[in-house]
């Protein structure tokens, strides 16, 4: 007979670990079960090629809620976020757009394309800051259910209505536009120069299976701004040691509060008796028991795999089956013999090559991104993809041997379902398309590659388990947000099975290394204890 815990968390991704941390901090005996040999889920750092540490899946951080950093004392447990100060958008004609923390430098750069845009940029940045601040409220609340007459829900709705109606008129309407417009249309209202619109709109498509002209992408744009409100403007950063550094810090924190973490422990099933979750069974047959079981996996796995769907109401099963979780992105990680040379901005560290310490975004225009999406719509990976890359070893020298470098390239679009052929057959062709694209901007790239790792959505699904490789555990579309995430009536982290909870990115607010889902779920679980 195995020992009994207060709570078992399925999945050791950042949300699972954060939920574990909060529960352990409240004095609960917690066990985290992770399928892989290491914790982190999509936020892991692995030495795939000897001496080179790849931040394999997710690679930047900004959305992580500051209260979580505080509550779980993550700094004490080793979390160090190094600033990622700039974004370079190279163009094929040799021109480039460079934006960094130096406001005037950014303005000068934008003015090279359009003085009007440079003037508008200030106003735009300020507006997005306020918008993000207005929406931030949502990150801290449990979505109220608008269909019930339960006083708590009604109060929640009234409070929410009051929050938004208290915004001044202009902001309220801008928010309405952000929720409904396409990133392209939204940006068209502010700017005229293509590289600026292109590179800004890229934030609206990351992780989605939508193009910049698809309505709804303006919200994703805002979603990506939300991390910036608590720190300096454009406070994207790189965690020391890669995103694995974040997961490790959270894990250490949870352990310091007494949580137990087991790796190599794939859960096959949640044990349900008389409509109550009582524990979990591992693939090897081991069983663990607990008062509460919480799944940090995506909604499809949580409801259709870990439990028998026959035990669930049919409306929930239908909703989860049609829950939109199309994977659309891939990753290419490179070990490099030397620093890459960007054609439009030659120069090396330390002074002239400052741009190498920031993000480099292949997003020269909205049309470019839209065409990349067109390929994906019809079931092919983009021939000329959107690529967002960083060179972690420039920021954190521990990531690669001296003089050598690692490069992390996030690539879109790579649709999970290819119309012709399989991902196993197309993986290297996809890698080639990415490298060929990058080589147009980085002439020495092909010569300096020592090793490359290509990750397709299928690989993401196989390695870390997320259905269809969707990095947000489900599209961030209006139909799947707030009280509709993951399904109407089931947005409060609970499930129809007693003592079985959900705490992954597929719940409100979802998406990115934000941790809000894990935290809010843990607080709900604690209410029920």
């Amino acid at each position: 007979m195995a020992q009994k815990y207060d709570a078992i968390i399925i999945g050791g991704g950042h949300n699972g670990l954060i939920a574990a941390g909060y529960l352990a901090r409240a004095g609960k005996r917690v066990l985290v079960l992770e399928r892989r040999y290491l914790v982190g889920g999509a936020s892991v750092t692995e030495e795939i090629y000897p001496g080179f540490k790849y931040t394999v899946f997710s690679y930047v951080v900004s959305l992580l809620r500051p209260e979580i950093v505080r509550d779980l004392q993550l700094a004490k447990h080793g979390l160090t976020v190094l600033p990622l100060e700039s974004t370079l958008t190279p163009m094929l004609d040799g021109n480039y757009l460079y934006r960094d923390g130096d406001h005037f430098c950014t303005m000068r750069n934008i003015a090279r394309f359009s003085q009007r845009d440079a003037d508008a940029y200030d106003d735009y940045s300020r507006s997005m800051y306020f918008m993000a601040k207005a929406v931030k409220y949502m990150l801290g609340i449990i979505p109220p259910d608008p269909t019930t007459y339960n006083p708590r829900d009604l109060l929640g709705l009234v409070d929410m209505a009051r929050h938004f109606l208290d915004l001044d008129e202009e902001k309220l309407f801008m928010l309405a536009k952000l929720m409904t417009m396409s990133a392209a249309d939204f940006l068209d209202q502010w700017f005229e120069s293509e590289p600026l619109k292109g590179t800004l709109s890229a934030s609206g498509i990351i992780g989605t299976y939508l193009g910049p002209r698809s309505p709804g992408t303006a919200y994703v744009l805002l979603h990506h701004y939300m991390g910036e409100i608590d720190g300096a403007f454009r406070a994207w950063g790189f965690a020391k040691g890669g995103t694995g550094g974040i997961a490790n810090a959270i894990a250490r924190s949870a352990q310091s509060f007494g949580a137990e973490i087991r790796c190599n422990a794939p859960v096959s099933q949640v044990i349900v008796k008389n409509g109550r979750a009582t524990g979990v069974a591992l693939e090897n047959g081991d069983e663990f028991y607990a008062d509460v079981v919480a799944s940090s996996l995506d909604p499809k796995l949580t409801f259709l795999e870990l439990v028998d769907p026959a035990q669930l109401p049919s409306d929930l099963v239908d909703s989860i089956r049609r829950f939109n979780i199309r994977g659309s992105s891939g990753k290419v990680n490179l070990a490099l013999d030397a620093l890459p040379d960007i054609a439009c901005l030659p120069g090396r560290l330390p002074r002239a090559g400052r741009h190498l310490a920031g993000a480099i975004s292949i997003s020269p225009s909205i049309d470019y991104l839209e065409r990349a999406y067109d390929d994906a719509k019809y079931g092919a990976f983009s021939q000329r993809p959107f690529v967002d890359m960083i060179i972690p070893s420039v920021i954190d020298p521990d990531m690669a041997p001296p003089g050598k470098h690692v490069m992390s390239c996030f690539v879109q679009y790579a649709p999970y379902e290819l119309r012709e052929d399989t991902w196993d057959a197309k993986r290297e062709a996809f890698g080639d398309a990415v490298i060929d694209t990058l080589a147009q901007y980085i002439p020495n790239l092909k010569e300096i590659i020592l090793h490359r790792q290509v990750l397709t959505p299928l690989d993401i699904e196989r390695t870390i388990g997320i259905s269809q490789g969707n990095i947000f555990h489900g599209e961030l579309s209006l139909s799947q947000l707030f009280f509709l995430r993951p399904a109407a009536g089931y947005a409060k982290y609970r499930t129809p099975i007693h003592n079985y909870y959900q705490c992954g990115s597929g719940t409100h607010p979802g998406g990115g290394i934000m941790g809000a889902s894990g935290k809010l779920a843990a607080l709900e679980i604690l209410k029920d204890f």
């Binding site: 109606l165 536009k177 409904t180 698809s214 309505p215 139909s479 009280f483 509709l484 109407a488």
Partner: protein
């Protein structure tokens, strides 16, 4: 200058006429000024060639709100609707065809040969569309609430809508919220498997917009187009222009004055108030209220003048997305062509849609995204002579083809050079489905988005006076903060499709505006 009028309405499109008729009925002295020599704006029937009467703009009057027709006794003014049992006939590239009838059981039966599961689900789909359509219909005749003021009276009026939503039940309510922002592509994928069926059902969702079936919010458009009944197809005997004429007759019978060929050059202000209009010929006419049925960009930039308004307001007007994407080809035919897969003439009496799959529509949209005419366009064809044979000489027919996408802003060449190639493209495309079409063509009229703009005054040729996307509806229409038919200028009102609820021959914007103007004239 005479100020004999209570209200002057700029433009005699159907919304302008509804406003005129309603105000006249309320006892106000009304003058309508129309730039063209025909009434109806984009709801007009015109004898472009002697003997053939064309619906130059809209064809279908299914959306026209019945309450308005009843309140204005339009039947007495010889308005006669005729419903067509066949809703949509959709010929396919492989020579087959599907027909959707107003009668759902009949349709389901017919779909069985296409896909048994789809046929079985069809009635439930129709039920959902009708249910939500009823909720939307409840919104049509209401002034959008002022979200910043929170007036109790206004909210009460919308409580009825809330009640309708509640009536959908808990699940239905959440489903309603979930569906509205969805892409039609996603919505139909949830229901059906058959590509031809999904293709033909998606068509109303993209009508009049430059969005593809994968664009969020297109489901709402499909539901809007079904708000008076799923697959309801209703024409006007004598052509849609008769509806406008009936409205005009109703207005006149209550004392309204309507002048055609009287283009307004300017709306004139005095101390920040709209007081009168100046016609192109110089005549000035004054009224207590000036109501523009022109679209907001035309109203504020051309008729009022940008310097008379705050820059912030003008920026929102400038930012309205118009993006006309629709062209029209009218054909005079010496005989009725035969379509592939057609079994009876009755099948052709509703809409004929060339929209064989979601992907077909999406690819047509792709071209428009980059400023090109769709190489394989979506076509919506109506043959009005099958409803009313009198519209053409004996045995002859008129055919009205709405085509998408024809983007107003072409990246290469201009519309004057593209007009005839566009006509050829449309005829060639349709000939693939009706091989004998070309030999019967007696005459052809091509209307591009540029023509809509020049001749009908529609900015960028947008048939809805501004795209009907989620971001431009309800309190956001025409611009945020000004959704109640009023404008920043006292005594200037809007009553066109650029206001809530939007485009289509509903009459609702004109009706709502008349109510608001009436209130203002009474000092409320």
């Amino acid at each position: 200058m005479s100020t004999n009028y209570d209200a002057i309405i700029v433009g005699a499109g159907h919304n302008g006429l509804v406003s005129a008729a309603m105000l006249a009925k309320g006892g106000y002295r009304v003058l309508v000024l129309e730039q063209r020599d025909v009434l109806g704006g984009a709801a007009a029937s015109e004898e472009t060639i002697p003997g053939y009467c064309f619906n130059t703009g809209a064809d279908d009057a299914a959306l026209f709100v019945d309450e308005i027709a009843e309140e204005l006794f339009l039947k007495m003014h010889s308005l006669e609707f005729r419903e067509s049992q066949a809703a949509v006939f959709a010929p396919q590239p492989d020579g087959s065809a599907i027909t959707l009838w107003q009668d759902e059981a009949r349709t389901a039966h017919e779909l069985e040969s296409l896909n048994k599961e789809d046929a079985a689900r069809y009635p439930a789909f129709a039920r959902q569309v009708n249910q939500i359509g009823r909720v939307l219909q409840e919104m049509l005749l209401r002034t959008p609430p002022d979200v910043t003021e929170r007036k109790v009276g206004e909210l009460l009026s919308w409580a009825k809508v809330g009640l309708q939503v509640r009536r959908l039940g808990n699940k239905g309510m959440m489903e309603f919220v979930r569906l509205l922002p969805m892409a039609i592509h996603e919505y139909l994928e949830e229901w059906f498997q058959s590509e031809p069926l999904k293709g033909v059902l998606a068509a109303p969702a993209i009508t009049g917009t430059r969005q593809g079936p994968r664009s969020a919010g297109t489901t709402l458009m499909m539901l809007y187009q079904s708000s008076n009944g799923f697959n309801r197809t209703r024409f006007v005997v004598g052509g849609i222009g008769r509806l406008s004429q009936a409205l005009a007759a109703a207005a006149r019978s209550n004392g309204a004055e309507i002048r055609t060929s009287s283009p307004v050059a300017r709306i004139l202000l005095q101390d920040g108030q709209a007081t009168s209009v100046r016609l192109v010929d110089g005549e000035e006419l004054g009224a207590r209220a000036i109501i523009s049925s022109a679209d907001p960009r035309r109203t504020f930039f051309d008729l009022v003048g940008p310097t008379n308004l705050e820059p912030r307001f003008m920026r929102s007007v400038r930012n309205i997305i118009f993006r006309g994407s629709t062209a029209k080809v009218n054909l005079a035919l010496s005989r009725l062509p035969t379509f592939n897969g057609q079994q009876s003439v009755e099948q052709l009496s509703g809409h004929i849609r060339i929209s064989p799959s979601l992907e077909y529509l999406e690819r047509a949209y792709d071209d428009a995204k980059y400023g090109r005419i769709s190489r394989q366009p979506f076509l919506d064809v109506v043959i009005p002579t099958l409803t009313d044979a009198a519209l053409a000489p004996h045995g002859h027919h008129v055919m009205s083809i709405r085509m998408q996408y024809a983007p107003y802003g072409l990246r290469e060449r201009d519309w004057d050079a593209q007009r005839e190639p566009l006509g050829d493209l449309v005829v060639d495309t349709l000939s693939q489905y009706a091989p004998d079409l070309k030999q019967f063509i007696v005459h052809r009229q091509v209307l591009t988005p540029l023509d809509w703009e020049r001749e009908y005054g529609l900015t960028e040729g947008s048939i809805f006076h501004g795209q009907m996307g989620l971001d431009q509806l309800l309190v956001m229409r025409p611009v945020a903060g000004w959704s109640q038919y009023r404008t920043p200028l006292r005594n200037l009102f809007l009553c066109g499709a650029g206001t809530h609820p939007g485009g289509g021959v509903t009459g609702a914007p004109g009706y709502n505006a008349a109510r608001e103007v009436g209130r203002a004239l009474n000092g409320a």
